[in-house]
Symmetry: C2
Subunit: 322 residues, 2 copies
């Protein structure tokens, strides 16, 4: 198995001008789960170990894996400017440590660096990998825009919400898997199974994020509990609450949404409404449905150690605490 952390550390950012490359180095050094490139490599391994091609195919998947990780970090960098987020992975964000302009320009260069990695994909696979990458990147920008739009809308349906998180979170994970498999020689049916597996664990992953933001353990979650409640973020929990609430609970909820000065009280009160309505259980049920749909896809892949890793990963994602 290729060590993805080593591969990321091996990227050379010691170039001039330092003002452009230092923030890129800083962003990639702050770590994170490395989930997406890991999925690309495991998907490649699942196909190769299935006996379709030789081991080079895993090495061949590395540039695409790096492209996806660099791209993911680019989205975080620009999102943090747009959200005015000050901390990411326990470190000051780029626009705080440097400034907005640096975050914009180094972010742009990161997006270009992702495409530089893509250009290293074997020529016969490049057109398809590039096309998928562009579709994925478009989905993520669209998802981000919908997320912004939803903030200003009084009513958002759960369907719209699921569409938004599919674009914003799930397509990147889905494409990471499909691309790894494709480079390793997956059949169209296997490519589709990897994509659908990724799409459903991506959705489950985001729903778990929404749940942890309210019900996570402050010791392990890594950020403050209730952040979504404070800023009235339209999460699956809030949208479900509106759907499941009677007139009285709905009125109470709406009243708390107006409150902007009593954060602690607001978090406790909204959480109590969620508890009363059984919102957490509903969200967990939806999450488990997506996990099941994901796991069912694995039957369509070669059964080997890598496929087993995908299964474990899917199960870990929905029981994770941070």
């Amino acid at each position: 198995m290729v060590d993805i952390n080593k591969a990321i550390e091996g990227l050379d950012w010691s170039k001039e001008p330092r003002g452009l490359y230092e923030p890129i180095e800083y962003t990639l050094a702050t770590g994170g789960k490395r989930l997406r490139p890991t999925l690309t490599l495991i998907a490649a391994e699942a196909i190769v170990n299935g006996g379709l091609l030789n081991g080079d195919a895993i090495e061949n998947a590395l540039p695409a894996a790096l492209a996806l990780e660099i791209f993911h970090n680019f989205t975080l960098l620009h999102d943090d400017v747009m959200d005015r987020a000050e901390v990411r992975r326990g470190q000051p964000t780029v626009h705080i440590k440097w400034n907005d302009n640096t975050a914009i320009l180094s972010g742009d260069q990161m997006l270009i660096e992702a495409y530089k990695q893509l250009a290293l994909v074997p020529a016969d696979k490049l057109p398809q990998v590039l096309k998928w990458f562009n579709e994925m990147a478009t989905g993520i920008c669209e998802g981000q825009q919908y997320d912004v739009d939803f903030e200003h809308m009084s009513q958002v349906s759960i369907d719209d919400y699921m569409m938004m998180i599919e674009k914003k979170t799930a397509v990147l994970i889905a494409n990471a898997l499909r691309t790894g498999g494709y480079i390793a020689g997956a059949t169209p049916a296997q490519q589709e199974a990897l994509y659908q597996f990724g799409l459903h664990i991506g959705l489950a992953f985001q729903i778990q994020d929404d749940i942890l933001d309210v019900y996570g353990d402050p010791k392990t979650f890594g950020k403050a509990i209730g952040g979504d409640i404070c800023c009235n973020k339209k999460t699956l929990l809030l949208l479900t609450a509106f759907e499941q609430a009677d007139a009285e609970s709905k009125a109470e909820l709406l009243e708390w949404l107006m409150a902007t000065d009593r954060n602690e009280e607001k978090i406790a009160a909204v959480t109590a409404i969620y508890d009363r309505l059984g919102v957490r259980e509903t969200a967990e049920t939806i999450m488990e449905q997506h996990t099941s749909l994901a796991l069912a896809q694995l039957d369509k892949l070669p059964q080997n150690k890598a496929t087993e890793q995908l299964r474990e990963l899917a199960e870990q994602l929905v029981t994770r605490k941070h």
Copy 2:
């Protein structure tokens, strides 16, 4: 000849979410010279008319031409945020008409849209075209960063300045030409000639920009005269002035650089120093040298109507008034 304006108008931005695509449509509709995609198509035509390949090659160059125009407009969009520019081509900039976040996100999507066009380049040409595009895009981000760095440096050499404008302006024009020629079947020597032609007209173009900012006719220039002088921009004129000045003129110049409140007076005084030192003539000489170096490259290309157009374009660029 393909009509580039029609091709740009033919791009479909009527997609959802409108908040993402409307600013892209707006940016591309504001026009501009369409210089870069035009150069791509003329370069393709110069090679095809030279008899190396059939007419399809010009059609094949269209996606790359569009990619370059979209990319160029993306750089303007993000530069305008970073420079806090309020007007572009007589219209409010995107961050003024909408807001900073919209300019960042729609800009990101524009960069991705450029790569979507690139993905339409014929598969056998794609790896090279993508690699060049990435190198060019990197050069432009590096050039932008140097431009920012130079603002905060007390001394910048003319060599450093030329390196900066090469990256920031010239490599895009050079790559536009080389890419068009390459797709049309240019030999390596022809590709290099097209690139060098573009590099030198790009440099001449930027120097003319610096000159027009001081000596342009306010009626035809399109923006206020003396903008670079007001903000102490390290243009070729200012750097040449420092190089050519005696101790007294240098002291006078430095004193005016400190002045931030008397703009009209400052423009008149600095222009007078330029006049006294013959700075305009020096800059024009350098510009003409680059134009000559560019024109000399054309001898290495097939001699036809398209090559003649390139010659006329190069000559127009240095005599242009806006």
